[in-house]
C-alpha cells in the first residue's frame, strides 16, 4: 500500500510545477503517476481524465482527487487534492498580501494595461479553443452563439442559460436519435 506521506509529497511537487491549464498539467501527472511510479494503469488514468471532463471543477484537480481515491480511498483523495492545491494557495495568499496590503498592484499603468489586455486575449482564446473542440455541428454552434447573445446583449442569468442549454442539449439529442436510429 502506498503511504499517505508519499502521496502528499508527490502531489505537492506536481502542484508546484504544473502550469498552463488542464492538458499540460495532466501530461505532467501522467508522467509521474503512471510512467514513473506506476501507481495507476494508463486506463485508470484515462478514467481520471474522463471524470474530470464530465464533472464540474478544474479538470486536473478532479483527476488528482480520483487518483488519490484510487490509491487510498477517502484519506488518499483528501491528501492528494490538498497537496496539489497547497503550493498555489500559499503563493496566491502571499501575492494577495503584497497586492492589497503593500501596494504591489501595478501602479505603473503600463503593466496593468499590458497584463489586462493579455488576460482578455487568453479568455477569448479559451472560448475559441473550447468552441473548436465542442461545436461539431450547426446546432452546437447556434447554441453557443445564443448563450453568448443572452449574456452579452441581455445580461441573462447564467444559471438560467445553463438550464436552457441542458434542456436544448437533451432535445437535440432526442431529435438526432429519431433521425438516425
Amino acid at each position: 500500500m502506498i503511504g499517505l506521506g508519499k502521496i502528499f509529497r508527490t502531489f505537492l511537487v506536481l502542484g508546484s510545477i504544473g502550469f498552463g491549464g488542464a492538458m499540460p498539467m495532466l501530461a505532467l501527472i501522467h508522467q509521474e503517476v503512471v510512467e514513473r511510479r506506476k501507481w495507476i494503469s494508463p486506463s485508470q488514468f484515462a478514467e481520471a481524465t474522463a471524470i474530470g471532463q464530465t464533472l464540474p471543477g478544474p479538470i486536473a484537480v478532479d483527476a488528482v482527487s480520483y487518483i488519490g481515491h484510487r490509491l487510498r480511498k477517502w484519506p488518499g483523495a483528501i491528501v492528494a487534492t490538498g497537496a496539489f492545491i497547497l503550493p498555489s494557495f500559499v503563493l496566491m495568499v502571499l501575492l494577495s498580501l503584497l497586492y492589497f496590503r503593500h501596494g504591489l498592484n501595478p501602479r505603473a499603468e503600463g503593466i496593468f494595461k499590458g497584463v489586462g489586455a493579455a488576460v482578455v486575449g487568453l479568455i477569448l482564446a479559451a472560448s475559441i479553443r473550447m468552441g473548436k473542440a465542442a461545436t461539431k455541428d450547426l446546432s452546437g454552434f447556434l447554441l453557443a452563439l445564443a448563450s453568448f447573445l443572452l449574456l452579452w446583449a441581455f445580461h441573462g442569468s447564467i444559471l438560467l442559460i445553463f438550464g436552457l442549454g441542458a434542456l436544448l442539449g437533451v432535445l437535440i439529442h432526442l431529435h438526432q436519435g429519431k433521425r438516425t436510429p
Binding site: P56, V93, V115, L124, M130, L151
Partner: protein
C-alpha cells in the same frame, strides 16, 4: 457575514464550473464585479492574471478574491469552497463512471451546458475588454495574446509576464 456569503458564492461556482476552471470567469464577472461591486474590473483581471502566473489551476484566483474580502480566512474559505463540490462529486462518482458515461440523457445535457460555457466565456471576455483593453496598443496586445495562445506552444504564464513587460516598457 461577508465570509458566509463568499463561501456560499464559491460553493455555487465550484459546483457549476463545467468544462474546466476558466468557466468560473463569467460567474465571477457577472455577480462579484457587475452586480455586487465586491471587485473592480481591474482587480478581477489581475486575479486571473495571478491565477495564470501561479502554478496549479486558475481557479486558485478564488483565494485572491477571498483575501480581498476577508483576509487569510477569506482566502482559505473561498479556496475550500470552490474546490469542495467537485471534490465530493469526483470521489462519490468514482465507482459510477461507466453509468455516468452510459447515461445518454445526462451526457446530452452536459454537452448543452458545455456549449453554453463557450458563449458565456466569450461574452465575459468582451465585457472585460471594455474595462481593460485601452487604445490601439492594448488591442494589438490582446490580439497577439489570443493568437499566440491558440497557435503557439507558449504557456499562459509567459504570455502574461511578457505582456506585463511590454506594457511597462512601451505603454
Amino acid at each position: 457575514m461577508i465570509l458566509w456569503r463568499l463561501t456560499l458564492f464559491f460553493l455555487k461556482i465550484g459546483a457549476l464550473t463545467f468544462g474546466g476552471g476558466m468557466a468560473m470567469i463569467p460567474f465571477i464577472h457577472q455577480e462579484l464585479v457587475e452586480d455586487l461591486h465586491w471587485l473592480t474590473p481591474r482587480e478581477f483581471s489581475d486575479a486571473i492574471a495571478l491565477g495564470q502566473v501561479t502554478p496549479g489551476p486558475v481557479a486558485i484566483s478564488a483565494a485572491f478574491i477571498g483575501f480581498k474580502l476577508g483576509g487569510l480566512l477569506g482566502a482559505a474559505a473561498a479556496t475550500a469552497a470552490i474546490f469542495s463540490p467537485s471534490f465530493l462529486m469526483t470521489v462519490m462518482a468514482s465507482h459510477q463512471l461507466q453509468r455516468l458515461q452510459g447515461n445518454r440523457t445526462l451526457q446530452a445535457a452536459l454537452k448543452g451546458i458545455t456549449l453554453c460555457v463557450i458563449g458565456i466565456l466569450f461574452s465575459a471576455g468582451l465585457d472585460l475588454a471594455q474595462a481593460s483593453v485601452k487604445g490601439v496598443e492594448g488591442l494589438l496586445l490582446a490580439t497577439a495574446a489570443l493568437l499566440l495562445s491558440l497557435y503557439s506552444p507558449l504557456r499562459p504564464v509567459f504570455l502574461i509576464l511578457g505582456a506585463g513587460v511590454l506594457g511597462y516598457l512601451f505603454f
